[in-house]
Symmetry: C2
Subunit: 347 residues, 2 copies
């Protein structure tokens, strides 16, 4: 009555081989095959070889559903993107990050589930999915602080690693971030060293780590260099190109004698360049412009942007490493990675 060994239906996919087929082929029991599959401890070399040969011969691939059912692990992780919907997708940094994480996970044979939770409804749905244990951990990319997702996932006990230092409760939340403050310091120091004395800044939103830390670095360095703290030189932005344009306009009005601008993102810096060009200021002769991110836009802009490189490849690799460690039971920790000044023509 039951189907014959290695049966296949006439049309369609053949029934994939099970651990049982492999065991029969190798002349051992299911248990031994399972042991080979899971590290090969307490397996004789002969059995080991027989099983491996049988796996090759049958084309066996483990059924992850069956495995997950019993182990309680899913061997997959979520890449969860919350908040500002399409914003992230336009951000070149995000691409690099997603790509890096996918790669790092693939190396460990772990699939990545991409989740986008723009609306509250999507957030609820994704949260339910995650809390149901369908993934072992979450890589969280959330721009703004006070994200309710963080709190909920923490409460549910789901291993979590965030990109960028969460501004609120950081306990029990692992994170990997670039050294925003030090990057800002380096840029402002560089502008100062090249002779600039009226150094302005265009900031990011005050509820993002980058908005806070880069501004802090700017302030510290001015003080270090003995320059006066002039609030009219500090203009807020929201990371968008348009806000960079507007900020530069405001700046030229308030402080026409400005000779350098440290802009908290490359995208905004492009807007600043546009406004400066329209106002007839030459870059870098009249005004030096420094960006942040080293996005592709930095190379494409005219003139090419001197900027601070964020080590996205290292960030993604570290996020994955940390998440897997957390899944393995390790405690939460924070890692801050160094940035690097990239000199181009704008400063």
């Amino acid at each position: 009555m039951s189907r014959s060994s290695t049966s296949r239906s006439a049309e369609g996919r053949r029934r994939p081989p099970t651990i049982h087929d492999v065991a029969r082929e190798a002349g051992v029991s299911r248990g031994t095959v399972s042991r080979v599959l899971n590290g090969g401890h307490y397996v004789s070399p002969a059995a080991q070889d027989a099983v491996n040969a049988a796996i090759r011969k049958t084309g066996y691939v483990v059924n992850r559903h069956a495995r997950s059912l019993i182990t309680g692990r899913s061997d997959s992780v979520a890449f969860l993107l919350t908040e500002p919907q399409e914003r992230f997708f336009e951000d070149p940094n995000f691409n690099v990050l997603l790509r890096g994480c996918t790669q790092a996970l693939a190396d460990r044979d772990i699939p990545l589930l991409l989740m986008i939770a723009g609306t509250a409804d999507e957030r609820r749905r994704n949260l339910r999915y995650i809390e149901a244990g369908h993934v072992d951990g979450v890589l969280l990319v959330s721009s703004h602080s006070g994200d309710p997702v963080v709190t909920q996932l923490r409460r549910a006990g789901v291993p979590l690693v965030a990109c960028g230092k969460p501004l609120g409760q950081t306990a029990k939340v692992g994170y990997v971030a670039a050294d925003d403050r030090d990057g800002a310091r380096e840029m402002v120091r560089y502008l100062y060293a090249s002779g600039r004395r009226r150094i302005a800044t265009v900031t990011g939103p005050p509820d993002t780590p980058g908005g806070v830390e880069r501004l802090a670095g700017y302030r510290e360095t001015l003080a270090e260099c003995g320059l006066p703290a002039d609030e009219s030189l500090i203009v807020p932005g929201d990371y968008s190109r348009a806000s960079g344009e507007a900020a530069a306009g405001l700046l030229l009005e308030r402080a026409p004698d400005v000779d350098a601008v440290f802009v908290a993102s490359d995208l905004m810096a492009q807007g600043v360049l546009d406004t400066l060009a329209r106002a007839g200021r030459r870059v870098p002769e009249d005004v030096a412009v420094g960006g942040f991110d080293d996005s592709p836009a930095a190379v494409a802009s005219r003139p090419p942007l001197t900027t601070i490189r964020q080590p996205w490849d290292r960030i993604s690799a570290e996020m994955v490493r940390m998440l897997l460690a957390r899944i393995g039971g390790e405690e939460a920790a924070g890692v801050i990675l160094p940035t690097e000044l990239v000199r181009r023509e704008s400063a």
Copy 2:
């Protein structure tokens, strides 16, 4: 010996409720709960309500591993990206596509697994994963033709929907594409209608659908309009900005009297604009420039680019719809969606 009902460990996650817990809570059997979960056929209204209440009360979420183990379906699909590694991630079109697919799938509560197969090794690994039945279908984004992945997935009988018409064997492969040829036609017609008579083109690679079809549309329209077919007006590109710059340089050399260029991608069009600006040609007064894609770059470029909009939102929605239909047993089909001319300042 066994754990008490709804047991929870002191620390860590509590044991999630099973279908059994729900059944007990609702005073019905597992079977009835299962029926409610799967459409509610042959369930009395009273039982229906009791089960739904019990689900809410217990916070039950179906264990997809257990379900998949028996149904043989995984209720997840792969988004498979093959070939040119980071190229795609720099392409804004790709972002929109990925986002659209994630969204469309999320609406149906189906997770998307992101797979990147740049190297042959990654291709092999991902293929093994897919063929093992870990996903129900594949959304394939592959730029170049003759992709071995297509053949292998077809042979394995995995439901497959490609983005863009596969140039090779199209039988049994579903695809969704923009109407490249008609888009090109519309642009060239528009250039002609605005009085241009020396209309050049910068093409995409000849092994991509966009490279072939957009060129064909260009040729057809010139003939229609009674303009001579002048091969010196056709310059090859590879979709990159740099290749656009180079192509425009070559073009100005070969045909200095050119008064319009239809460029097969916005990115290349930006390169063309750069070269034209350096050569002192005004756009659109001296030379009109038309792009293709309507990427964010089209708005950002100076002057803003007249271009052909690809309906990425509809493409992604249709890809998902078609894939699910194929998983449901429907035959492969091809869908071609209309493009749209977007008038800005460059033409």
